[in-house]
Amino acid sequence: MGKVKIKRKSTLIDMTAMSDVTVLLLTFFMLTSTFLQKEPATVITPSSVSEIKVPTANLVTILVSGAGVDGDGKRDASVEGKIFISVAGDVDSTFSSENVREAVLIEAVTNYNKLHKNNPVELTNAQVKAFSKLNMFGLKFSELPKFLEMEVAEQDEVMKHLDNPVVGIPIDNNRDMNKPNEFQIWMRAIYNVAEANKDMGNDAFASALRRSGEGIAVKADKDTPYSTIHNVLDNLQTLKLNKFSLMTALKTEQD
């Protein structure tokens, strides 16, 4: 009796095709992706039927933090209504985010020092550079030099604690532009920088801010009470930046 010989077959699978597919997919994701921006507070925006997309360039985002949850699972209102600002320039020009942020910081600090002659804020060039790398900021002016000296990990640690009183740009219901609050100083600085760029031939930012209302986006949590939001809207009205957009997610008419 002859033994049945089991033929030994090689188990090698040709992975070339698979590799082709994955490389294609990878290329697709790399080209289409815009990275999630680091934001100090996570908010769930309400949904609306509006289909206008958020622009990626020439945009000022004002983030209003929502209420947190404390250790017992209760609503923690102490972290609610903290203001953060993010400035994005245009990548394809000299008007890049970094340049805009530097200009905004210098402008804002100069204005702040004019109003607070007794304790001015002094920044080194390195600190200004560090600021231009921040996507979103929200801190008292007086804390800025110390904050900008820190390593990125330490900065994140500071921004994580929203209940810390130094975190968040101070805001009140001031309507007197001779004595602006810190939020108003920042917004005015951003506006001035945009206007200065307009004189240099870059009109996009200034027109987005003033004319169309595309340039300012207010982002807030859906459960935040209107009294908190109203403060921000009122400040923008005082600054005569009364056209702006509210960030929402998409929903259908049936909802």
């Binding site: 815009t34 206008i52 056209k243 049936q254």
Partner: protein, 245 residues
């Protein structure tokens, strides 16, 4: 990893003839690495971009009485938004629908503020209550949408005619948008002026929902205003008269 196999067939080949060599490169690690990268990019990207709702508010400068735009009483409808919250300030949910409890108080024209017996409670507040419900699949409207829909019927009917044409590809997107805009701003039609007021407890979501209703009902004239004493008095009176806490 990359091995070169020699096909050896009994050594019958002629001497000096070139041996056939098959080159196998094992792509498995390459695929592994690619998959990891894909996973990374998939998790780090935002495919859905946020939408925005554009609004324009009046500036805070004082306006003279004579320069103020007066709204015709017959056209005005005021919405006052409120959201029910528990003692901690959490938004309460409606157990049946699973939606947050937003309430829309509204009155048409001027508020009625007669208080004959001077008990601080308005006798017949002309205020009514609705909710954000939306519409059914067949296009029936409910809640506050129904109220606004009926007020803006003439505009909506005209726009629907154009919308049908646009659906049948008789109009391009731009043409349709331009026509719809003209109809929305056509002063010969009966159009409401909506004043949206949000109470201090009203959540941001309810404000957006109210602005949404303006879009859905093609209302071109609306304004966000601050709540005042009369509005609060109306709501308190309504609640007292109807036995709501």
């Amino acid at each position: 990893m990359a091995q070169i196999e020699q096909s050896d067939k009994g050594g019958k080949g002629k001497k000096g003839a070139q041996k056939k060599m098959a080159i196998h490169v094992d792509f498995t690690p390459m695929v592994d690495m690619n998959m990891l990268l894909i996973t990374f990019f998939m998790l780090c990207t935002t495919m859905i971009k946020s939408q925005t709702l554009q609004i324009a508010l009046p500036s805070n400068e004082k306006v003279e009485e004579a320069q103020q735009n007066k709204t015709k009483q017959s056209e005005a409808i005021t919405l006052i938004l409120d959201t029910e919250r528990d003692a901690d300030g959490n938004v309460m949910m409606d157990l049946e629908t699973g939606k947050p409890k937003h309430t829309v108080y509204y009155y048409e024209g001027k508020p009625v503020v007669d208080d004959e017996n001077k008990d601080g409670i308005i006798d017949n507040p002309n205020i009514k209550v609705e909710k954000f419900i939306g519409n059914s699949n067949t296009g029936e409207t409910f809640g506050i949408r129904n109220i606004l829909h009926n007020r803006n019927k003439q505009v909506l009917e005209k726009i629907n005619v154009q919308k049908e044409k646009w659906r049948n590809k008789e109009l391009t997107d731009e043409e349709y948008q331009a026509l719809a805009k003209d109809i929305r701003n056509d002063s010969t039609l009966v159009r409401p002026v909506v004043i949206i007021k949000a109470g201090p407890n009203a959540s941001y979501e309810s404000l957006i929902s109210a602005l949404d209703e303006m879009q859905i009902n093609q209302i071109s004239r609306y304004q966000i205003d601050n709540i005042n004493g009369v509005d609060s008095a109306l709501i308190i009176s309504y609640k007292t008269l109807n036995g709501i806490k």
